[in-house]
Amino acid sequence: MAVTYIDAIHQALAELLAEDDAVFLMGEDIGGSFGGAFKATKGLAEKFPGRVINTPISEDAIVGAGIGAALAGMKPILEMQFADFGTLGQNQMANNAGAHFYRTGVPVNVTLRMPCGGTPGGGPFHSQSLEALFAHYPGLHVFTPATVADAYFMLKEAVRIPDPVVFMEHKFLYRWLKADTWQEENPLPVGKARIARVGKHATVVAFSAMVPEALKAAELLAQQGYDIEVIDLRSVKPLDYDTVLASLSRTARLLVVSEDFPYGGVAAEVVATVASMGLHLLDAPPLRLTSHDSPIPYHPDLWREHRPSADSIAAAAKYLISY
């Protein structure tokens, strides 16, 4: 039986609630039978009475109250209805939760679930990927799972880790990405990138929904005789440069793909770090492929052109190889 990415998230939430009395959920439209905008919490309010809490539409207060609860010993898992609205909780996450451990020595165990990324028809305000915005602030870990197994495993890890974690779950992957199971024999520890496909002509670094796109691009290029290595970062903070640099020592060509806007994004960060630490490994300039520097359009035809796709990734990789 196939399970989806969102099934994995639901399963992780159910297990976390069952395993640890300190865990509770808080967010908009999750407290009743409704189960949240994407149904990630469906059935949990009935199963764990009083521990799945509906809130007013108050993102700042949701995160602030989560921080307070964490300071009082709980492990809240907070849901932003859409990552885009996470900007309204960002002050609490960055300045309160993020700064807390450094200031006081007391870690804040909040997990902020952010349904992120584009879907056809999502439009400018229900499609954004805010990894870079949150990763910018000290004190936050930012997880970006790209597989069903990671959606499950990394959410459980996010709650086990005592620091604030921003958990970016991609809406497109929710029901599109399927696997036989969410269980993995020996899951890679959080903080380790995964080689999603082994290759030798170029390394494509991706995360979240850009991993399946990069893998598709690699298939396209395989038909043309190119062998592309694809790295799934899994978490953009911490970011596993060891795996990236080791890959580049074999391929000597880097393309970083991100669904986010270009300016100051994760792709820029990876390119900058690789340029300063591993320029000698490269036979071509490190490239990045991101969305356009414009708001995310509504119409699916525009949207598909706005973000990187298997085709545009393949084209960029080909350019890189022929450089």
Binding site: A61, V63, A65, G68, A69, L71, A72, G98, P138, D163
Partner: protein, 308 residues
């Protein structure tokens, strides 16, 4: 209140002597409200969220001025170890979250701490969230106030109305009465003259008891800031007539008169208390000043507790 005033007087002098790194923020005129904000609370059980001018409340809660002095000097023995300063110190494990600068942000943290206590079945506890008149115009405070009311959390929202937010008078911060803001969210509402020690004591006693019983409370206590916003500021924007109205309403003088009239204190005892408080402040400030600051060479620059 006497200790807080003595401490404020001391740090103001140190600031003017160039001995403090950043700004200095005093509670002159706030002492009655501040002391009453925490005097009905129990460390270890309740939650206390001091605002900017809350030295008196911190004393009433049971924290030594030593911690306040350490925070200003950045002592490595202090809770903030030079990583944060001025009035930004807390002890979350004892029920005082460490405030951040962003006004209004701490009220929802108090809400969450009380929510956690409810989830764990702890009963009879209360949280006091202090804020200023200007802070009631910050969105975060409204979200928190509403959240507390919706969840019926045992919280007292205490608004110290000192008539100014930095240089901005009430009329440019809000167009309705501050009490109406609380009423609009469904709070039980109280208002008192925050320079009147006995009246403020009674108001907070009532509000804290009602919140403990499970009803969110909104208290507005009026006063005037008898100093600048910070010690860099001469408060020249406060009209002289308004300052004159408060000439005989310094909360310390009012409290002294009230206690003497009630027969609970004599002038002589008051002088002794004042001297004791000054000595205590002197001792704590001297100790904090003596303690080593942070060691930049040994700093780990680590913002997270977990690493892969």
């Amino acid at each position: 209140m006497l200790t807080a005033r003595a401490f404020d007087t001391k740090v103001s002098a140190l600031y003017k002597a160039g001995k403090i790194f950043g700004g200095v923020f005093l509670g002159r005129g706030h002492e009655a409200i501040s002391a009453c904000s925490a005097v009905f609370l129990t460390k270890g059980q309740d939650v206390y969220n001091p605002f900017i001018r809350e030295q008196a409340g911190r004393c009433a809660w049971g924290d030594s001025v030593l911690e306040s002095a350490r925070c200003y000097f950045g002592s490595r023995e202090g809770l903030m170890r030079g990583r944060d300063g001025n009035v930004h110190w807390g002890n979350p494990q004892e029920g005082v979250p460490a405030p951040i600068s962003h006004l209004g942000a701490m009220a929802s943290v108090v809400a969450g701490m009380m929510l956690a206590k409810r989830l764990r079945g702890e009963q009879g506890c209360v949280g006091v969230a202090c804020a200023g008149d200007g802070t009631t115009s910050v969105g975060a405070l409204h979200e928190a106030a509403n959240f507390i009311a919706v969840q019926q959390l045992p919280v007292v929202m205490l608004i110290t109305n000192n008539r100014y937010a930095y240089s901005t008078p009430n009329a440019q911060e809000f167009a309705a009465e501050l009490t109406e803001r609380g009423r609009g969210y469904g709070y039980e509402v109280h208002r008192c003259d925050g320079t009147d020690f006995f009246a403020t004591l009674q108001t907070m006693q009532t509000a804290v008891a009602a919140a403990r019983a499970g009803k969110p409370q909104w208290v507005v206590a009026d006063t005037l800031r008898l100093c600048g916003h910070g010690e860099h500021d001469d408060a020249s924007y406060i009209p002289a007539e308004l300052k004159a109205q408060y000439a005989d309403r310094d909360p310390l003088d009012v409290a002294r008169r009230q206690l003497i009239d009630a027969g609970w204190l004599t002038e002589e005892e008051h002088l002794i208390w004042e001297a004791e408080c000054r000595d205590e402040v002197q001792r704590c400030v001297a100790q904090a000043q003596k303690e080593a600051g942070p060691d930049p060479a040994a700093e780990d620059w680590s913002a997270v507790s977990w690493r892969p």
